[in-house]
């Protein structure tokens, strides 16, 4: 099968890889680049577990073709260690018991960080609406919503 050469930046580091046309970004990240913090839950773009940041915007890595990521800047859950919003979210997620099995958590955090930065005035209804693309089967969402609201409030 023909392969596509892709150059991209992942978590601040340049990567040059060759991918199959059918390979999705989540498999590239997890397999070739060993960044297993991005999780795969459905591989059809519904559950949100694979959410990463592509060029500054949250995106489903399971329905993003790796071959289309030439020149892209990708950030995964492993790439936020210096980010103060992510640090605050991690603290709040633990405080509010916003995770149980932890499988949806990386995708949830990437989405949550985007909400905090993009919608500083969001109320609970808006936060719930914005999080609706990320499924969690364990928590019933209360802790997650509260954690995001907590970080939003702290930044006001």
């Amino acid at each position: 099968m023909s392969r596509i050469a892709v150059s991209l930046t992942v978590n601040g580091e340049a990567a040059r890889v060759e991918v199959e046309p059918r390979e999705h970004l989540a498999d590239l990240l997890r397999g070739t680049l060993l960044l297993t913090g991005t999780h795969i839950g459905c591989e059809h773009g519904v559950c949100g577990a694979c959410t990463v940041e592509i060029d500054g915007v949250p995106a489903r890595s399971c329905i993003t073709h790796a071959g289309s990521c030439d020149g892209a800047t990708v950030r995964t859950i492993e790439g936020f260690d210096d980010d103060e919003v992510m640090a605050a979210l991690r603290e709040a997620f633990s405080q509010e018991h916003a995770l149980q099995c932890g499988y949806c958590t990386p995708g949830m955090l990437v989405t949550a960080r985007d909400i905090v930065l993009r919608l500083p005035d969001a109320d609970e209804a808006r936060v719930r609406e914005e999080l609706a693309g990320n499924l969690c089967r364990c928590t019933g969402y209360r802790g997650i919503v509260r954690a995001v609201l907590h970080v939003l409030a702290a930044r006001r």
Binding site: E78, R90, L99, Q100, C101, T105, A132, Y141, R142, G143
Partner: protein
């Protein structure tokens, strides 16, 4: 909820020790683990529900990378028998032999360097089969004219059970009688992580090491060793971080057997990761109950008797270890619920159909049974013109009757069931709801009360005769030379936070700071045998075992500590991580004691216990018939009578789980269960067509509740201690998922009452709600 912290022991809402790794993407799930030379497996699966399998033509040139059952001689079939009289035994082959019995049944394992390449192989196989009529309807399945799914059986049913109380006189004396025909949907458990297996053969140890996403590593070991013909010492099961389970990861998988067999045959590590399509269409089936239920009551609403005909669609095979009857065979024993019920007549059928085997899912039979009983009670109340609250208060077991043995022999340990109901009702302004109804608004109030038997043990399960019977739960507690306390348990956390809660138990006994406690779990080579994490048992059983091990360890520590202080053991106590003289501030730390045992044994007293600082202790409550947590769920639902859409305006849970080891985690369990229960009530449905084809193959078709579907619940706890457990704790892990369908549909039916409409089937989707309204207007239901 107030998350308040009271120290680090039992009762503290301690933040979870395991959070950090998940928050940084450092959890380790099966799919994150690779091995050099690892091969990936894709399964060729049945596209048809029922057929004679005639053959598989392998892709040319890839004959040695495609394995049918004939290529894996010697592997056994999965048998999960039951000692219940009349049980029909099924043999589930790891790969189909000559018959296909459900869509998704594995036929051949295709092996390649990547999953994609393995799927290419599966797609290139040519399957030859002769279609047979599919048995898709559980009510038809047991009838004599139906094709038999297992040829040697006499009917398509694993089991029938009967309880034959005479209810024939009740029509004459009852003030009210109602009959309802009710149905719950077939569901999929849908943890966000599917199953996954990585099997490798260690030629040095002659051991099969299987890393697999399971809730019960030891039971999987036993079942796998049996199917592979290995002794149990030759199988080691490692269960790493598990991305949710909810019962689905409490079974032995055909895929585990196949991967292990392949790893031995190929001498290479072999991995299979379930994808969502496989999960939904081939594997993760649960629930699907049908009831015809009749109840009689006197004019005060007091139940005189219940008659129930229950059918559960158990699918094609009896899965290991819980078997095909775990739902239906429990209906009769769960139906009395938290109520005083004088008479029960009940017939159940575990129907066999051409669908994937029914597997345990949070709440197991209780969710369906609670739905049937609670909606029937409301129907009775409407007929008697009394309130939903009144009919329940007329029947709930009163607190002064505790411990209470009900008519089927279940023993409720403790609690004030009516008080939970009263508190839940008091949380609402019912007059305001009635006023809105009077103004014509389709809003309603619904209740469900129930109790949940958890941590039931030997005395309950031996009667079932399934492949395992839980006995004494064991835990190991040992101090390492630096004073860190290691706890080794055979249960396995899949989100419950046991690395934290068991550390709290140890802290309660020894005072060791939770940071200095390491919980080792999820590896059969490192932990004592256990039936695992299921049945809301872990905090009662493993919590009790850890406490007992720590108590015994405290005795050993005290003896050495006292000697180091040159006093008698009677003069010291162990607390706060120290051995302290009772009469002064003089102490040595537990770390000092550990250092002495391991690194300065010259200072040990004569006659010191040679067992050292390592204890294995066993625990079982006495009696072991199980704890009974209980709850009242109360919902306010608003129905859009034009679209059939239902909005949950408010939801209250009053719950009693006995002593809460970590209230924050308990709240999380209840909330998570509630979300799943809302899914059961309003959204989740795996429909099958007449050919036995599953119709919801993606999460866009199989709807899981999202953030906007789960309200911000008001949650209140009562803490009535169980007299039978270490700290008075009760099993509570499944409770949240039991009550919602009953409470929510009762609220919907209350909202629709002025229209004369009533919903009977789950989920109460917009189309079903509209159909109910339409039927009430004289249309066809």
């Amino acid at each position: 909820m107030t998350v308040e912290q009271r120290g680090f022991g039992v009762g503290a809402s301690l933040r979870r020790k395991e959070d950090a790794r998940f928050l940084h993407g450092r959890g380790r799930f099966v799919g994150d683990i690779t091995r050099p030379g690892m091969l990936e497996v894709a399964f060729l699966r049945s596209p048809i529900a029922h057929a004679r399998l005639l053959g598989v033509t392998k892709p040319q040139g890839a004959e040695k990378r495609v394995f049918t059952l004939a290529d894996l001689p010697g592997i056994g079939t999965i048998r999960a028998n039951s000692a219940l009289p009349g049980f029909r035994v099924s043999e589930q082959p790891a790969l189909a032999k000559d018959r296909l019995r459900h869509v998704g049944e594995a036929i051949a394992a295709c092996v390649a360097g990547s999953r994609a390449a393995a799927e290419d192989l599966a797609a290139a196989c040519v399957l030859d089969y002769e279609a047979l009529p599919a048995v898709h309807d559980m009510l038809q399945a047991p009838l004599p004219d139906q094709p038999l799914i297992h040829d040697h059986w006499t009917m398509n049913a694993f089991l029938e059970t009967r309880r034959n109380d005479d209810v024939s006189g009740l029509d004459a004396v009852a003030a009210a009688k109602v009959t309802r025909t009710l149905r719950t949907s077939r569901q999929c458990m849908a943890p966000l992580e599917g199953r996954g297996v990585l099997a490798e053969w260690d030629p040095r140890l002659e051991q099969m090491i299987v890393t697999t996403s399971t809730q019960m590593p030891h039971v999987t070991k036993t079942g796998l060793a049996d199917c592979l013909g290995l002794d149990e010492g030759q199988v080691r099961i490692v269960s790493p971080d598990v991305g949710g389970g909810f019962g689905y990861k409490g079974i032995l998988l055909p895929e585990e057997i196949v991967c292990a067999s392949l790893a031995i045959r190929l001498g290479r590590p072999v991995r299979w990761l379930e994808d969502r399509f496989e999960h939904l269409s081939a594997s993760a089936n649960c629930r699907e109950h049908h009831y015809v239920i009749t109840a009689w009551a006197d004019k005060a609403g007091k139940l005189l008797g219940v008659e129930c005909e229950a059918t559960v669609d158990a699918g094609a095979y009896s899965s290991y270890p819980f078997g095909a009857c775990l739902e239906a065979a429990q209906v009769g024993s769960i139906l009395p619920g938290p109520y005083v019920l004088p008479l029960l007549r009940c017939h159940t059928i575990s129907a066999c159909t051409n669908k994937p085997p029914i597997l345990p899912y949070r709440g197991v039979a209780r969710t369906g049974v609670c739905y049937a009983m609670e909606t029937t009670l409301d129907a009775l109340a409407r007929k008697l013109d009394i309130t939903a609250e009144a009919i329940r208060l007329a029947n709930l077991v009163p607190p002064d009757a505790m411990p209470y043995r009900n008519l089927v022999g279940k023993v409720f340990d403790s609690g004030d069931y009516p008080e939970a109901l009263r508190r839940a009702v008091a949380a609402f302004d019912l007059d305001a709801i009635r006023a809105r109804q009077a103004a014509g608004e389709a809003v309603g109030f619904g209740l469900a009360t129930f109790c949940e038997q958890g941590a039931h043990g030997t005395s309950v399960y031996h009667a079932w005769g399934i492949p395992f019977v839980p006995g004494f739960e064991q835990a190991q507690a040992r101090l390492s030379p630096d004073g860190v306390l290691e706890l080794r348990v055979g249960v396995h956390s899949h989100g419950q936070g046991m690395e934290t809660t068991l550390a709290q138990v140890a802290n309660e006994i020894l005072g060791v700071h939770p940071d200095k406690v390491r919980v080792v779990h999820g590896d059969t080579a490192l932990t004592p045998y256990s039936t695992g994490t299921w049945g809301s048992r872990a905090m009662v059983m493993a919590g009790g075992a850890v406490a007992e091990a720590c108590r015994q360890l405290a005795g050993r520590v005290a003896a050495i500590g006292a000697a180091l202080m040159q006093v008698s053991v009677a003069e010291v106590e162990v607390a706060d991580g120290k051995v302290r003289r009772r009469d002064s501030d003089v102490f040595v730390t537990i770390a000092d004691v550990a250092r002495t045992w391991y690194r300065a044994p010259q200072n040990l007293p004569p006659g010191v216990d040679k067992g050292g600082l390592e204890i294995t202790a066993g625990y079982r409550p006495d009696p072991d018939t199980g704890t009974h947590s209980y709850a009242c769920h109360a919902a306010v639902a608003r129905v859009d009578v034009r679209t059939g859409a239902v909005v949950l305006e408010d939801y209250v849970i009053v719950e009693d789980g006995g002593k809460l080891v970590n209230p924050m985690i308990v709240d999380g369990q209840v909330m998570g269960g509630l979300a799943q229960g809302i899914g059961t009530a309003l959204y989740e449905e795996m429909p099958y067509d007449r050919d036995g084809q599953p119709l919801a193959a993606t999460l866009a078709d199989y709807l899981l509740p999202g953030t906007t579907d789960v309200p911000d619940v008001r949650l209140e706890h009562m803490e009535t201690l169980s007299p039978w457990t270490t700290f008075g704790q009760k099993g509570i892990g499944e409770s949240g998922a039991i009550g919602p369908p009953g409470a929510i549909v009762n609220a919907i039916n209350d909202a629709l009452a002025r229209l004369g409409a009533e919903v009977f089937d789950l989920p109460a989707s917009p189309s079903r709600v509209l159909a109910a309204i339409h039927a009430a207007k004289g249309g066809v239901r």
